[in-house]
């Protein structure tokens, strides 16, 4: 396989954005008025292969990149048809080869409002139509423009709609969203090559490509346990750069398809355990990562 070491100057920042959504920041289940739940989870994911554009590559000067995170996730029912969802993460990322510093710190704070707009009875089954709007922003000025980083650093606006079908314990949810990403300010002046640029080398700000997202999730949700399988596809909506020398990483067009599964088991009272696994099926300018997670869920 042919690789450019300079592909070294590369790699993905965006393992996270999107992932949190798929892990359930917004699912189809309404919490219910004045009910709340809190989940504390830990996850680890790693990859030794990544996509330059859509071509798989490895870099011996990077080795395996491992990212661990602690997540705090809360949902509260503001009304019977309106939920507030909040998530924050503490993330650590490091590479096994080369001399890249480990990055560690608070990543992003995300919040979303979910509204169940319509609710249809179909015999014993039920179909609901939901909408959600969300916003996320970095919790601190972490490094966004490095080979190993904990996030992309953009402020994002997220709008999505969902169809949620339940029949007995079975459910199926499909959702489609658009994530509008704000610009990112780099530590250095942008100097990448673009023949169309009339006035190059003038600023610190770069645009982060927007994405659209499709998520399909189905499974069983019972009183004492829950299990699902999901598929997520994120597609760059606006044009961006490919991983390559001199390309500011936040400008890379990131896309992926991932699949995974989650399980939840209620232990005693309102306390339960959750676990999940996901893997990357294909990607664009992102690591081909697999992820496991586990944690505690408390219903209040």
């Amino acid at each position: 396989m042919r690789i450019s070491i300079l592909t070294v100057a590369i790699v993905f920042c965006l393992i996270f954005s999107g992932q949190l959504w798929a892990q359930g920041l917004v699912d189809g289940f309404m919490r219910g008025q004045r009910k709340a739940s809190l989940a504390l989870t830990a996850s680890t994911e790693s990859f030794d292969t990544y996509y330059v554009g859509t071509t798989e590559t490895r870099n011996p000067n990077l080795g395996t990149v491992t990212t661990q995170s602690l997540n705090a996730y809360g949902v509260y029912g503001l009304g019977y048809d309106l939920d507030l969802i909040v998530n924050a993460s503490y993330v650590r990322a490091e590479a096994s080869a080369g001399y890249w510093p480990k990055q560690e710190g608070l990543q992003d704070l995300s919040a979303a409002l979910r509204w169940e707009a319509y609710d249809y009875k179909l015999g014993k089954a039920r179909l609901s139509w939901l909408f959600a709007v969300g916003y996320s922003l970095p919790l601190q000025n972490y490094v966004t423009d490095a080979l190993v980083t904990i996030g992309r650093g953009s402020r994002n606006f997220d709008g999505r709609t969902m169809l949620h079908f339940t029949s007995g314990a079975f459910f199926l949810t499909g959702q489609y969203g658009y994530i509008r990403r704000g610009p990112v300010t780099l530590d250095r002046i942008v100097s990448y090559y673009d023949p169309a640029q009339l006035n190059p080398n003038t600023g610190y700000k770069v645009n982060v490509p927007d994405v659209t997202e499709f998520v399909l999730r189905g499974g069983v949700s019972a009183k004492r346990f829950y299990v699902d399988g999901w598929f997520q596809q994120q597609t760059p909506y606006s044009s961006g750069t490919d991983i390559g020398p001199g390309i500011p990483f936040p400008t890379n067009a990131v896309g992926f398809t991932r699949a995974g599964a989650n399980a939840y088991l209620r232990l005693i009272g309102k306390l339960g355990l959750t676990a999940g696994y996901s893997t990357t099926l294909s990607g664009q300018n992102i690591g081909k990562a697999s992820r496991v997670s586990g944690g505690l869920v408390i219903g209040i």
Binding site: V8, A9, P60, G98, P101, A146, R188, P195
Partner: protein, 471 residues
């Protein structure tokens, strides 16, 4: 930014000292202003002003920013494009061979390229100014044409823009042969934009183009024989230099797999200023790895690596100028551009600024490379693998820091040309050097000794300019 007319016209500029040209360039006498041929050209330009297309207007505004500066921007873009590492083929275990058509524009390449570009521009403009004031064909504005953009009130024949466009195009094409078509299109647009702007007539362009081509030929012939063709060490002699190096622990490539160092013979490239004087600026031997001074320097880098603040990271990143960027020399060219804009230097004076800066940067880099491959001092991470770096570790020995040498030389040259900004430039240069300590790629003695060398090279350049005829 609003376009402003140049602050000076420098009518004596034709007498300034050229760099490569040893004799003048003959420029044929223009047709008289009263001739039918010239009047037809003038009328056509006047009539054309009313019918320019939006694309032509965009080109007019773009080039009105300053041809010298636009070509420097173009050069920086190309440096960034070609500033990549050699491709590695895992199947054969080999790195791609050096390809002249696709040169790796790392630090020495970039410094040399910018020097040649600006020397070609400067010599061409000195000759242009000489012919302008010899023939005194009045500016179009003095003949009832209202140009669309501010134009220097200098004689229009030959066109300074055509001279700069042609010299720049030929010089950059020599250095980046694969970009010939793109560069040709840029040069054509540059020249034509001046007619669309109402700044000159086609015969002004023609004379400028011929002059630019003649000067470029002279400068290219110097480039062919300056020794750079051997800088990548085709005969693979660097292991002999390594074995000969008088240092107790020797540099190794930290890449996986290891590769030959960057341009091991770039220290032998012909300098722009007196080679002996430049060579004398080289720093002496660094402290041995067993000495307390070295151990203290290593400990400092380890501490920074363990406790690096976000602000230290930001500074390291801002000045990193590594792979994918327009390199250290390009960074200082960008700083020069701001100063040139602030002081509204005309084309000739802007070219002089760049030619002086870039020759100093080239010679600073050359003496750096001489020293790097004399001592082969290892990078901090080689001695202590726990030292993590903000920037990719350059695949070359660390002593002295090229960032520090270049920054100090640039600060002295620019401080000499723009005395009002001297203290700010010194501050920037100090930060650029310190950035390498924050990055973890260099010891403090790499930076301190490098800054002394750079300042001395800068002084050689500044002294040259004191006698070049410009006031």
């Amino acid at each position: 930014m609003p376009l402003t007319p140049p602050a000076t016209t420098d009518p004596d500029g034709g007498n300034w000292q050229t760099v490569v040209l040893r004799s003048g360039v003959g420029v044929p006498a223009p047709a008289a202003v009263s001739s039918d041929a010239y009047q037809r050209e003038l009328t056509a330009v006047k009539n054309g002003l009313a019918g320019t297309t939006p694309e032509q207007n965009t080109a007019v505004t773009y080039w009105a920013y300053g041809g010298v500066q636009r070509w420097n921007q173009i050069a920086r873009q190309l440096i960034a494009k070609y500033n990549v590492m050699p491709a590695y083929d895992a199947a054969t275990g080999r790195y791609a061979a050096y390809d002249v058509a696709k040169p790796m524009s790392d630090a020495p390449f970039a410094a040399r390229l910018l020097a040649y570009l600006s020397v070609a521009q400067y010599d061409a403009l000195v000759m242009t100014w000489r012919a302008k004031f010899q023939y005194n064909r009045p500016a179009l504005e003095r003949q009832g044409v209202q140009p669309r953009i501010p134009v220097a009130d200098v004689p229009s024949y030959p066109s300074e823009d055509a001279a700069v466009a042609e010299a720049s195009y030929q010089m950059l094409t020599f250095l980046f042969p694969n970009e010939a078509d793109w560069l040709k299109a840029k040069a054509t647009e540059h020249k034509q934009s001046r007619v669309w702007a109402g700044a000159c007539v086609p015969s002004d362009l023609q004379a400028g183009e011929t002059l630019g081509a003649t000067v470029a030929t002279s400068v290219v012939s110097r480039a062919r024989t300056d020794g750079f063709a051997q800088a990548h060490d085709p005969a693979n002699t660097w292991p002999t230099l390594l074995a000969r190096a008088p240092y107790d622990t020797k540099w190794q490539s930290l890449e996986i797999p290891a590769r030959a160092p960057v341009l091991p013979l770039a220290g032998s490239v012909q300098t722009w200023f007196d080679a002996t004087a430049v060579g004398r600026t080289a720093p002496g031997p660094p402290p041995a790895t067993t000495s307390p001074a070295f151990q203290q320097a290593l400990a400092e880098i380890r501490t920074i690596s363990d406790t690096r603040s976000r602000e230290q990271w930001r500074i390291a990143d801002f000045w990193s100028d590594g792979v994918g960027s327009y390199a250290v020399a390009g960074h200082w060219n960008r700083i020069a551009e701001e100063l040139i804009q602030q002081t509204a230097q005309n084309e000739l004076r802007a070219a002089r600024t760049y030619a002086l800066l870039n020759r100093a940067l080239h010679d600073a880099t050359t003496v750096t490379w001489q020293t790097k491959y004399r001592y082969f001092v290892p990078r901090p991470s080689q001695i202590d693998a726990r030292i993590k770096t903000v920037a990719l570790i350059p695949n070359s020995p660390g002593y002295p820091s090229n960032h520090a040498v270049s920054a100090a030389s640039a600060a002295v040259v620019l401080g000499h040309l723009f005395p009002g900004d001297a203290s700010k430039l010194t501050g920037q240069a100090n930060e650029a050097g310190l950035a390498r300590v924050y990055a973890g790629t260099n010891y403090r003695f790499d930076v301190d000794e490098g800054a002394k060398t750079g300042a001395a090279v800068g002084k050689i350049a500044a002294d040259w300019s004191k006698a070049d005829g410009a006031k």
